[in-house]
């Protein structure tokens, strides 16, 4: 398995995945609704980071922040800080680059929202085992077909990467050139992809036979061996979170928060 999930014993891990998903969606809805840049930042500092620390995934979150998010934030501040189309209050200018107040505020707004979106999602993924997520979502009414596709994809990724690597090695041993110009390298991809596709098409018959032999799709309401706890407190919590998000959006739309 190749997901970002980290096994820990924590209250965040124990929550029903649906509750965590609703919390994540509520956070995303709120940070993208409110215009103030400091609100998303406040949510990151007061909710997302403490949740990560509580779940004992803070170190990994920091590393992923540095790898995934920080480069984007740097690019964002350069592009919109210096080249914002609607910037009027110029602080500094050099050639076509104009550092403007409007550009900085815009970068802050986008940057803090993006941080809340990405870090919140990361905490969700870091603390939620995909198997438990799929079971909980299926219990909540999601189609077992979607659960099947997601689970199967996650589990065959390692085998496929292995196959891709061995094909790459075999091709290199036969003198395949993977250096040179972009077009040449793109052409080099072809002998790599073709065997993977051939395997995919020849395997599909056996794979679907195996699924059908086990009556997959025979009933719209299958039972489940594993059950994810869904206490009343969490169900109430989910409704409260959804209501809070809806309230914020309404307040923004009618202009109370502006």
């Amino acid at each position: 398995m190749t997901t970002l999930y980290l096994e820990r014993a924590s209250a965040v891990h124990r929550l029903n995945p649906v509750t965590k998903l609703v919390a994540l969606l509520a956070i995303i809805a709120i940070v993208f609704a409110v215009p103030q840049w400091w609100i998303p930042l406040g949510i990151v500092v007061l909710v997302v980071v403490p949740a990560a620390v509580l779940a004992r995934v803070g170190g990994r979150l920091l590393r992923l922040f540095l790898i995934l998010l920080l480069p984007l934030l740097v690019v964002l501040f350069i592009v919109q800080g210096f080249f914002f189309p609607d910037g009027t209050t110029v602080l500094w200018q050099w050639g076509p680059a104009r550092l403007t107040v409007e550009g900085l505020v815009f970068s802050l707004t986008i940057g803090s929202r993006l941080s809340a979106l990405v870090l919140g999602s990361l905490v969700f993924v870091l603390t939620t085992h995909p198997a438990r997520l799929m079971t909980a979502l299926t219990q909540a009414g999601m189609s077992s077909k979607i659960a099947y596709v997601i689970s199967a994809s996650l589990q065959i990724i390692p085998a496929f990467q292995e196959r891709a690597r061995s094909i790459l090695l075999a091709q290199q041993a036969r003198g395949l050139e993977i250096a040179g110009g972009p077009l040449r390298r793109a052409r080099a991809l072809l002998p790599l992809i073709a065997p993977l596709v051939l395997g995919m098409i020849t395997d599909v018959d056996e794979r679907s036979t195996a699924m059908e032999a086990r009556a997959f799709g025979a009933t719209p309401r299958p039972t489940s061996l594993t059950v994810v706890d869904d206490p009343l407190s969490e169900r109430i919590g989910r409704w409260l979170l959804a209501a809070a998000a809806a309230a914020v959006i309404v307040l923004v739309v009618v202009g109370v928060i502006a």
């Binding site: 609704a33 690019v75 914002f84 993006l114």
Partner: protein, 288 residues
């Protein structure tokens, strides 16, 4: 199991509504963002554009994927995980090789061509979910683009764009244009044009030349997406043409819409009339 058949029928109607509603939401989102955005930006802020872009596109993509997946038979369904992994494996390989392309939708296009637009849509949407769970959730807002690519690949195949070798790249080019248009509001309002170092530099250049944010991300997309999808469709058509037609012909969608342009399939022979010309030759019974 009483009443299971009516339940299936009710689902079918519900699924059609999901797909139609999802399409409507995506189109409405795009039109709203294109038409309403300039006024709001002029007022000095983002307004509700970001929320509408994110919510509209995610809800639309989700509705289409949820509605589409129910139509798919198990044989198609078991093709999709492998296609998703193909997207990811080749996408990563492309990055490792340092190519200035994405090439992360080969599996999606392949499924669209072999199994139709609904299968393509599901492959695209769920690929982004898998990216989110494995590499990081940055790509998730672009799920709608992946859905559009899968759907267009399916319709391109249905309309005969894979019957001639040279037509597929054209279909890829057009798909790339649509993909660029659809994803531009996400790149603009959610990422502020900063989806990567290279793309950010291009957006900055377009903005420096006096284009608005949305116009700049659109132009940036038009620089990369049509090329990327042209190459993707070309790779797919090369691979599929190289396959034995027996393998391609296994897919009912391919046979139904004559995707690879063979002559219309022979009608199945009547079991009662083995002497009919279309019937395959059956060996004589053992003389005993």
């Amino acid at each position: 199991m009483s009443g299971s058949t009516p339940a299936v029928d009710a689902n079918r109607t519900r699924n059609r509504i999901f797909v139609a509603l999802g399409t409507l939401v995506i189109v409405a989102t795009y039109l709203y963002l294109i038409l309403a955005q300039p006024e709001e930006l002029a007022e000095g802020g983002l307004g509700t554009s970001a929320l509408i872009a994110l919510a509209g596109y995610l809800i639309g993509a989700g509705l289409i994927a949820a509605g589409a997946i129910h139509r798919l038979p198990t044989a198609t369904l078991s093709l999709i995980p492998i296609a998703i992994v193909l997207n990811i494996a080749v996408g990563q390989l492309t990055a490792v090789l340092g190519l200035p392309l994405y090439l992360d939708s080969i599996g999606t296009v392949l499924v669209g061509v072999l199994a139709g637009p609904a299968a393509g849509a599901v492959t695209g949407a769920l690929t982004n979910v898998i990216w989110g769970l494995t590499i990081g959730p940055i790509a998730l807002p672009f799920a709608v683009t992946a859905v559009v690519i899968g759907v267009l690949a399916g319709y391109a195949a249905r309309w005969g764009m894979f019957r001639r070798f040279y037509l597929a790249p054209v279909a890829g080019f057009v798909t790339g244009i649509v993909a660029a248009l659809v994803s531009a509001p996400i790149a603009a309002f959610i990422f502020g044009g900063a989806t990567g170092a290279g793309t950010g530099a291009i957006v900055a250049a377009f903005q420096a030349w006096g284009n608005s944010l949305l116009a700049s991300t659109t132009l940036q997309g038009l620089l990369s997406d049509p090329l990327d999808k042209t190459i993707t469709f070309t790779i797919v058509v090369i691979i599929l043409f190289a396959l034995p037609s027996r393998l391609r012909g296994r897919f009912p969608f391919v046979r139904q819409y004559n995707v690879f342009g063979k002559v219309a399939p022979v009608a199945p022979a009547e079991p009662a009339a083995p002497a009919a010309p279309a019937a395959p030759a059956e060996p004589e019974a053992p003389k005993a």
